[in-house]
Assembly symmetry: C2
Homo-oligomer: 251 residues x 2
DNA sequence: CGAGCGATTGATTTCTTTCAATATCGGTGG
DNA sequence: CCACCGATATTGAAAGAAATCAATCGCTCG
């Protein structure tokens, strides 16, 4: 009772952060389809970390896998390192997305996660999560759903492999646009949190190719870009471009 | 009691098939790390299907997702169809591997699965599996582990995107070799259950490129191949080739 | 203000695709 | 049993897309 009756001087401010229920991202995040009382249980095990600064790692391959993470604000990239030390970026993480799911069942993370800008993450201890999943069927389902959706997205990403550089960049930009839009941010104006090189790495292209494509897209009036500030002028034309490289007339 | 005392005339033969516990593939499959009594519970919900003939579909995108599958014998391919009707092969399934995991949390399968040769599959009803996962923590863990491993493998597959055609085929063949080996089959001699075109599709290359590469590998003495019968002569050289395209001498 | 990284743009090279022509295999029916 | 068919595989020549090499520009941060 006494602990409920008064708080440490830091508690109120801290408390505001600690709430999944009030988080605008919850519908995109692990709470997803959970009932309110279930979210409350989840909240009890979720921790918040200090902010992660740009270029700071959330985890590295080989780190003990004792928790998964959800991004609260900012942006991350995840990547693998091959035997020659080459970085292969496997994804860009936006707020509301989970990170570290590729490590389930391993003792260590197989991949790296690093902040592209100052970011806040929520930490979910694995032991607690597993226990809670025993009680809450919809949490189990949510975990499997999230993981299988990631798998499907990864497959789709791979399947763009055979398409032209132009198509791949168009698809990438539209994907970002859609994800920002789901977060109630502008679908047509946003800041790229990653460099040209990182986009290229992710898409299996080079910095130079990305740069040339941005120039071409600008010349075609599809977009305006200055540094990392992007404005999509003709999303529909970009969509068309993403679908069929040469606009092959039907039949 | 009377039902235990005697069987239908088909029961004995059927019973032999129905046993995960005796299945040589169980350590690779869903039973994975389960305890014996847990495997017995799993067995109760697993069904076996009639054989799937070559080119017969196990499921198609859009089919209701009411079960997942485990391959018992034969080989499958899974693929996506893009908006233009182009097939993108997302994986080749060998005995002991699960199929359909990319559909969790969806009502329908997003992908297709078709037999590359006559195959037997085990069927696991989703409702039963979800219920059982409530009782058996290690089954929950096993599901998440399997799914996250698939995700990681998909990421690795994608990360070979930037490598040369030569490297990609080398890596592919070594991957098959390793998977056959884990099934106590020869790591150096096996039959490719897929066509050159299917290999190419999977790797983001063309039939012709695959064919040329096989010829080159043969000329280099790395392998012998006649039709779909493959024999790896120098797996270690193939490994080296998979690692660095031009054998750049270290420093 | 200078250093250095990221971005842009051009010229050239390289690898893979595309187009095209055979060749081979597996199955079917005469 | 053999001939024929379609599908699959092989091989060559040409075209094309992106990488590589290289130079310059511009911005940000000490």
């Amino acid at each position: 009772m006494s602990t409920n009756g008064h708080h440490s001087i830091f508690a109120p401010a801290f408390k505001i952060q600690m709430n999944c229920h009030d988080c605008v991202l919850s519908r995109l995040c692990l709470p997803g389809c959970l009932q309110q009382n279930e979210v409350e249980q989840l909240e009890k095990i979720v921790k918040r970390n200090r902010p992660l600064h740009k270029n700071e790692h959330l985890f590295r391959a080989g780190d003990a896998m004792q928790q998964v993470y959800a991004l609260r604000s900012g942006a991350l990239k995840t990547y693998l390192l091959d035997q020659d030390g080459n970085e292969q970026i496997t994804g860009f993480i936006l707020p509301g997305e989970l990170v570290g799911l590729d490590a389930f069942g391993n003792h260590c993370f197989p991949s790296y996660a690093v902040a592209l800008e100052t970011s806040l993450v929520c930490t979910i201890p694995l032991a607690d999560l597993e226990e809670l999943a025993g009680y809450i069927p919809s949490l189990r389902k949510q975990l499997l759903t999230t993981l299988s959706r990631e798998l499907h997205e990864e497959q789709q990403h791979y399947s763009h492999n055979r398409e032209s550089a132009e198509q791949r960049l168009a698809i990438f930009l539209l994907n970002l646009s859609q994800r920002y839009s789901r977060r109630n941010l502008s679908a047509t104006s946003f800041i790229l949190s990653m460099s040209r090189g990182e986009i290229g790495n992710y898409l299996g292209l080079t910095t130079e190719t990305i740069s040339r494509l941005f120039s071409r897209f600008r010349q075609l009036g599809l977009l305006e870009i200055k540094g990392r500030e992007l404005h999509l002028m003709q999303p529909s034309a970009l969509t068309r471009l993403g679908k069929n490289a040469a606009q092959q007339p039907a039949i």
